[in-house]
């Protein structure tokens, strides 16, 4: 192997190790692992299965909330939510039919919602505004209509 090639690959490998260590540290030590909820349910019995029997915003602590949402072609239930500024919200979502995506545009809230599974993630809203929740996985002919509103007051 050429000497310069060795140097080149060495730099590459060192960068790679540094990079992967950062990604790993963030995932395992800082708790920024991607949403990987392992909870399962019967996709045909979502309405009878807690917590999805009561979709909506539930306060669970001091400015802390759980938002239970059910996704269905082509809408979210509930589809209009208001929360106070600085609130920490745990989104708990599932689908009653096909695969959907749960994205809040302009934030890092983004997860896949597959039938039979529950997915969840937590986000703190520091800024006021009208946020757009949208489905980012093709779910049928009305996919581009599938959205909800989240207002941070």
């Amino acid at each position: 192997m050429h000497k310069l090639e060795k140097v080149w690959l060495m730099i590459g490998v060192m960068t790679l190790i540094a990079f992967l260590s950062t990604v790993g540290y963030q995932a395992f030590a800082s708790g920024h692992a991607p949403p990987s909820d392992l909870t399962k349910l019967d996709p045909e019995k979502v309405e009878e299965t807690p917590p999805f029997d009561e979709p909506g915003l539930h306060q669970i602590g001091d400015n802390e909330y759980e938002l239970i949402m059910v996704l269905q072609s082509f809408g979210f239930t509930p589809n209009k939510v208001e929360i106070p500024q600085g609130a920490t919200v745990k989104f708990i979502v599932t689908s009653v039919d096909v695969v959907h995506g749960f994205e809040i545009a302009g934030t890092r809230v983004n997860m896949m919602v597959t039938p039979g599974h529950v997915n969840s993630m937590t986000y703190k809203f520091n800024e006021k505004g009208e946020y757009l929740i949208l489905c980012n996985e093709y779910c049928g002919i009305g996919h581009h209509m599938m959205s909800a509103e989240l207002e941070v007051k």
Binding site: H2, G24, F28, P35, D37, P43, M111, T114, L132, H143
Partner: protein
Amino acid sequence: MNRLDSKLSMAHFYIAFGAIAIGGLFGLLQTLVRSEMITLPPSLNYYQILTAHGVLMAIVFTTFFIFGFLYASVVRTTGALSEGRRRSAWIGYWMMVVGMILGVIMIMLGEATVLYTFYAPLEAHPLFYVALAMIIVGTYFGSFSIIRQYNHWKKEHTGETSPLIAFMAVATLVLWLIATIGVVLTVVFQFIPWSIGWVDEINIALSRTLFWYFGHPLVYFWLLPAYMAWYVIVPKIIGGKIFSDSLARLAFLLFILFSIPVGFHHQLLEPGISHEWKFIQVVLTFAVIIPSLMTAFALFATFEMRGRSLGGKGLFGWFKKLPWKDVRFFAPFMGMTIFIPAGAGGIINASNQMNQVVHNTIWVTGHFHLTIGATVALTFFGISYWLIPHLKGRILTKQLNGIAIYQTILWTVGMLIMSGAMHFSGLLGNPRRTQVTTYFDHSVASGWGAYETGMAIGGSLLFISLILYLILMVNLSFFAPKGQEAFPIGEEAGESLNPPRILENWKVWIGVAFALILFAYTIPIIDIIQNAPPGSKGFKFW
């Protein structure tokens, strides 16, 4: 090249050109719809042409072009196909053609508006899945023919090193054969029985995992033939030498190892897979950077050595000496250049946390239009400018070369504008695979319009470039002056050392590949099957 094998390759190229013509038109229509310049007639649905665009470009154009190129490369370096192998190749070709026609018919009838990734539980007509299976089984006949040809050559040349490009063709097919196991399993054992109605439910997580086991190496199946041209053909075109035969072989083997056990990085945001296993596959994903860096080094070493031998002085003087006016070099070089930002984007996509921001936004669409749509496509264009006349006994004249340079520039600029707009608006949250929408006049969505106009401008330039390309291809196939266009095959620089024998010991490499796959997938897949929630029945929401 002998007439019979030329005919075989050309049959593949004609289909590839047809696919890119129709698929490209649908791509243009999508950018015009999203930027609100046109509305589609009621008989054509946005998601239907999106499905057709994906199938025609990502499956039909690529697969047919690649097989046409692989046959030509193997025949060029190992001699004419035997009659039996040629028959097997033609059987494969016709299976792929029938599969393609059937698939396109189902899409145009509105029976398969499920996009080319066909995620369950959206349920297409069973014949759509049968069509996909036929295309893949067809490629098995072709792969058989090429691998047998390579083995036969090795038997007749005991102790000799196989021709580099034939070795690379076989490596590409080994990757393809291992990768397609996943999609064949899910299509044959999950989708077909479920869509016919033999079983009521489908395991969603399993179907997605098997799909992405295939889906990621699929992109390397597109990329490796481009690498074949970069490693073996481009050095000859510029009058230089291959930097190192052994390192080129090693790079291809590493691509086989590290492109397969990594599908979870497409499923990072999915429930039902623990984040520890996702992280393990993220680590394996990044291992692919090593052969990529090896490739970048080898190519630029070749360029620099050649530039310096032509008298290029100083740190970058050699750069100017390269044959910029030769499209056979210029088009693949543009592809390589675009691969630098494209690869950086890929690293972002596969990163645990950054993926969170871009997943399923139009950033991702921008990313693979840089990789497959620019890097691979430009290299394939570069190949076709000499390979088509070579096969048809014609020549690429100076005038045609000039138009081809122009075509390459238009494609490069168009793709940079379109993909650039996609990347930036993806960062703002603009979703991919979505018909034009204001989300009921939501203020967040109103900021995306300017980028969508950018996409339409890029898309229009691409379409003009595509028309030029097709005119050139028709010309090179049927009208260009008769003559002998060369099939360039590079030679190694310096003393030709025999590469270590281990590099051609396929049992070892395939064994290691399967060991990595078993390591990365066994426990998660057992978990997905054993702890599965009730499955899903099919839905037809279009």
